[in-house]
């Protein structure tokens, strides 16, 4: 009680006027939110700290939401959380901006004029749900439930997955697959029988040599990974960064290899060649665990550094020196698998070349390489079996993408546009938390698909571009205003984290759990959502690990005991890999069977013509794609993107630093105006911009018309024949002066 007295004093003093801060500082001194027992807060209703896990990106760091004067104050990391180690990244620290953003969706909306005109009427939740269920019943009757698809990104998407599956469709796509890390997961499964996962099972904190192929760690703020990377750098690890751009990571590297874009696979093959020819590979490991070494050796024998030099522009002695550096530090050398890897359409093969390199260095399953994650076992309540769909998205593409393990977003787009060859065309889309017009390449095609739909439901927090085309918009409350399912994490320690609501939902917004359940009830699928309140569902799950909501509200994160002896499992032990041969497949029997190169082969990609430059794109640490561009705290740090241009190129075109220019791609598509960043930090044959800007949606007032949208310029894609990933770095741009 004394504590809350002090707190009131503070409020009084702070309230005196403009001088509040200086006077308040000493009172603040006496009030330490960390010393308040969270149980007291929960039971007495005094605002204080609430556990959450961050939803600003997929890393899902766990932390505490603090209030001051009953107002939102700050979010800080939970020291027990292995995703953040108590330190959030700038986006998570600025997460309150998602809650305070005045541009949020505020009430359900139903479209009243044609799609894209953005004329909506405010609706009650009942009206919105009735509209959706009528259409869903119609689609089920006329075309079958398989004609409804879900695009999802984020925690709440799981409830809609459950709903769609219960309804009878398994067409569930996540742009994070075919537009991002799909090729990586497939390449590692093909090679090692297991995926890399998220957060990645990379043991960078113990690496002595880190090889980054276009991964701009530090600009992508995948929190725990950035932390491990800097620890390794500080401990003196050799970093080899391959990037046409002098990235932040490149600036921390011993070797920066400014490779000609699109030729990374040639460099990887040359490294494999050196490591085999100079017998630098881990002989025992290769002998014991791998399959196809002789074929590999034979296959790469001509891929010498001298062969790679004219392709990559990386000098042979540098290729040799870096290969030796990798071998010297092996097995604590990691060729990082990357994350966003859909670049050129042969991405599964390129990532596989890196995986092969890791196998030769013996870093899979070893300290400083890839560790074995401890998995949490948390029970979920049993649900009735889902109805078996009669067809899925693969039926729309007979014989294509044989090794895809997840529905492909752009595939669903294609299959929504009616065509004579296909019998399956989609009639209904649910879009949860993903702004398809910016996340998918070829936005024109997405729009065409949308015009063929009977039903488009968008669940979002902000009026993102995609909401403008919806029939019904369901406004979700932010992660700070809701419970969600537990975050169940694998890692060095298995752990679970709780997200509890820190604030009441603003406006007429609701949690996704409630929305999905209400829809299920109306569709007579209530048995798939047995718990009216998500709290009861959480209690069920927590009980299975001997915990409870009460306990989790105090802990935020609970680390679970492990039955695994060691994180490293290939120190000579026998091991059966989940591949057809039971070995690490240097030579992939699955690829061979499916008619693809069993060992990666380099093929040249199309190059920009005279006066054109390859368009590269990436991340900035304070933003998560387009999702944060309107966040008041984060827009403050960076409110528009720039296009990076080499000074020689800029001079040729008469472009000065900070000039506004327009980019035009090979298909004549023009960008919005964008500032030029004339910098030595990029090669002369490409340009670079941060993705997620150039919003065309007026209702997002802070981000509207700021910078340019790279997706607009990605009108061409090279599709990975193995798993359907969309290679997007195949577009070329030239410069146009801004028209005044």
């Amino acid at each position: 009680m004394t504590k809350s007295l002090n707190r009131r004093e503070f409020i009084k003093i702070a309230g005196i006027g403009a001088g509040g801060f200086a006077a308040g500082a000493s009172a603040l001194h006496a009030w330490n939110p960390f010393q308040i027992d969270p149980t007291q807060i929960a039971s007495s209703g005094i605002p204080g700290v609430t556990p959450t896990y961050c939803e600003i990106c997929f890393w899902k760091c766990a932390g505490w939401v603090h209030k001051k004067d009953n107002e939102p104050w700050k979010i800080v990391g939970n020291p027990d959380d292995p995703h953040s180690n108590g330190r959030f990244c700038p986006r998570g620290t600025g997460g309150l901006g998602a809650y305070t953003d005045p541009d949020r969706l505020k009430t359900p909306l139903i479209r009243v004029e044609e799609r894209g005109k953005q004329v909506f009427r405010e609706a009650t939740w009942d009206e919105a749900f009735d509209y959706i269920t009528d259409k869903m019943n119609l689609i089920k009757e006329k075309w079958g439930p398989e004609c409804v698809a879900l695009f999802t990104h984020g925690s709440g998407g799981d409830y809609f997955k459950n709903l769609i599956k219960a309804y009878g469709s398994n067409n569930i796509a996540a742009p994070s697959y075919a537009q991002c890390r799909g090729p990586r997961e497939e390449a590692y499964v093909l090679t090692f029988g297991e995926a890399v996962g998220s957060p990645e099972r990379t043991d960078m904190q113990n690496s002595k040599c880190i090889v980054l192929i276009g991964s701009h760690i530090g600009e992508n703020m995948h929190n725990g990974q950035v932390q491990e990377f800097t620890e390794a750098v500080a401990a003196g690890a050799t970093v080899i960064t391959v990037d046409p751009r002098f990235s932040t990571a490149a600036s921390k590297s011993k070797y920066w290899l400014p490779i000609k874009p699109s030729t990374d696979l040639a460099l990887l093959l040359a490294w494999i060649n050196v490591i085999i020819e100079e017998e630098l590979y881990d002989k025992d490991y290769v002998e014991k665990y791998t399959y196809g070494f002789q074929q590999l050796k034979e296959s790469v024998k001509n891929n010498t550094p001298e062969w790679a030099y004219p392709i990559t522009t990386i000098k042979p002695h540098i290729i040799r020196e870096t290969a030796r550096e990798m071998a010297k530090n092996a097995p604590a050398t990691i060729v990082h698998p990357g994350r966003h890897v859909t670049w050129y359409g042969d991405d599964t093969q390129r990532v596989r070349a890196g995986a092969i390199l890791n196998a030769l260095l013996g870093s899979w399953g070893r300290r400083g390489g890839f560790y074995s994650q401890v998995k949490a076992k948390v029970k979920s309540p049993a649900l009735p079996p889902y109805p078996k769909p009669k067809k899925d998205w693969k039926d729309a593409f007979p014989g294509k993408y044989p090794l895809a393990n997840l529905a492909i977003s752009q595939g669903i787009c294609d299959a929504t546009i009616p065509s004579v060859e296909r019998d399956c065309s989609f009639k209904g889309w649910f879009v949860y938390g993903t702004n398809l017009l910016m996340t998918l390449p070829q936005p024109k095609k997405t729009l065409e698909a949308i015009q063929n739909l009977e039903l488009l439901v968008v669940v979002d927090i902000l009026p993102a571009e995609i909401t403008g085309y919806a029939d019904v918009i369901l406004p979700e409350c932010t992660y700070l205003e809701r419970y969600d399912d537990l975050r169940v994490s694998a890692g060095r320690v298995a752990n679970v984290a709780l997200r509890a609501p820190a604030f009441e939902p603003k406006y007429d917004t609701k949690p996704a759990y409630w929305m999905a359940r209400e829809l299920a009830l109306r569709l007579n699928l209530g048995e798939y959502f047995p718990y009216e309140k998500i709290e009861d569902y959480l209690e069920y799950r927590l009980k299975s690990i001997g915990s409870s909501l009460d306990e989790m509200k105090k802990l935020g994160v609970k680390q679970l005991p492990s039955d695994q002896n060691s994180l490293y499992f290939l120190e000579g032990e026998d091991f059966e890999f989940y591949t057809p041969t039971g070995k690490i497949e240097l030579y992939s029997t699955q690829l061979a069977n499916a008619g693809f190169d069993p060992i990666p082969q380099y093929t040249a990609h199309e190059e920009p013509g005279e006066g054109y430059y390859r368009l590269l794109y990436g991340r900035a640490p304070m933003h998560t794609f387009g999702r944060t561009a309107n966040n008041p705290n984060l827009a403050d740090l960076m409110d528009e993107n720039e296009v990076w241009i080499n000074p020689k190129v800029a001079k040729e075109w008469g472009i000065r630093h900070r000039d506004y220019i327009i980019l035009e791609n090979q298909d004549g598509i023009k960008s919005a105006k964008i500032r030029a960043k004339v910098t030595e930090r990029i090669r002369h044959d490409c340009v670079y911009m941060v993705h997620g800007f150039g919003h065309s949606q007026k209702q997002m007032r802070r981000s509207f018309n700021k910078g340019a949208n790279d997706s607009d310029l990605i009108s061409k894609i090279n599709v990975d024949p193995i798993m359907g990933g969309t290679g997007m770095r195949v577009n070329f741009v030239t410069f146009r002066r801004e028209v005044a």
């Binding site: 403009a18 700038p90 620290t93 600036s251 403050d636 030595e680």
Partner: protein
């Protein structure tokens, strides 16, 4: 007691987390900041060097902002921390003109504001908000008079510099190189 900060340019990735953490901790209004990021690039492609710095008030030992303040609103407290008393500040901006580091700004409420080394947290035994949030552990805060503090150790073992030393202000923010 002499409080100081050392910022490791080898670790810092320029993510601006320190900026956001300061803004939320200290209710700095949107559009203003007490700390900020500078990227210094040198060299020509492909021989490049990039130094990233998180900058703020240097809590100078010989602080011109304190000397020139007509009302003594700018003053020095324990550990050499330079503060502005908001009630005493008349908003004349003499301090802003005198600071070689552009560390100060006029708060929309009329007084001059800047980094306080989060003295309210330090008095509770915590680190400044920026230091405790930094995901790369790039910042060290501590007492230079304590030979065993992390900051004393870092300055003993690592090459370092201060900004604009020729201004003669003797900054208490160091950059590890």
């Amino acid at each position: 007691m002499r409080y100081a900060m050392a910022i490791d340019t080898k670790r810092c990735v320029g993510c601006s987390d320190c900026v956001v953490a300061c803004q939320t901790e200290n209710n700095v209004p949107t559009g203003y900041c007490r700390d900020w990021i500078v990227e210094d690039m040198a060299g020509q492609y492909p021989e490049l060097h990039l130094e990233i710095r998180s900058e703020r008030c240097n809590h100078c030992e010989d602080a011109p902002c304190v000397r020139c303040c007509p009302t003594s609103a700018s003053h020095v407290v324990e550990g050499g921390v330079v503060l502005v008393d908001h009630d005493d500040c008349i908003g004349c901006k003499a301090c802003i003109a005198s600071c070689p580091y552009d560390a100060r700004f006029v708060h929309p409420k009329g007084y001059v504001d800047k980094c306080t080394f989060c003295i309210h947290r330090v008095r509770e035994g915590k680190k400044p908000a920026c230091v405790s949030v930094c995901p790369t552990h790039a910042m060290i805060f501590g007492d230079l008079d304590d030979k065993n503090s992390d900051i004393s150790k870092a300055l003993r073992t690592r090459q370092h510099k201060t900004l604009i030393p020729e201004a003669g202000t003797r900054p208490h923010v160091y950059y590890l190189l």
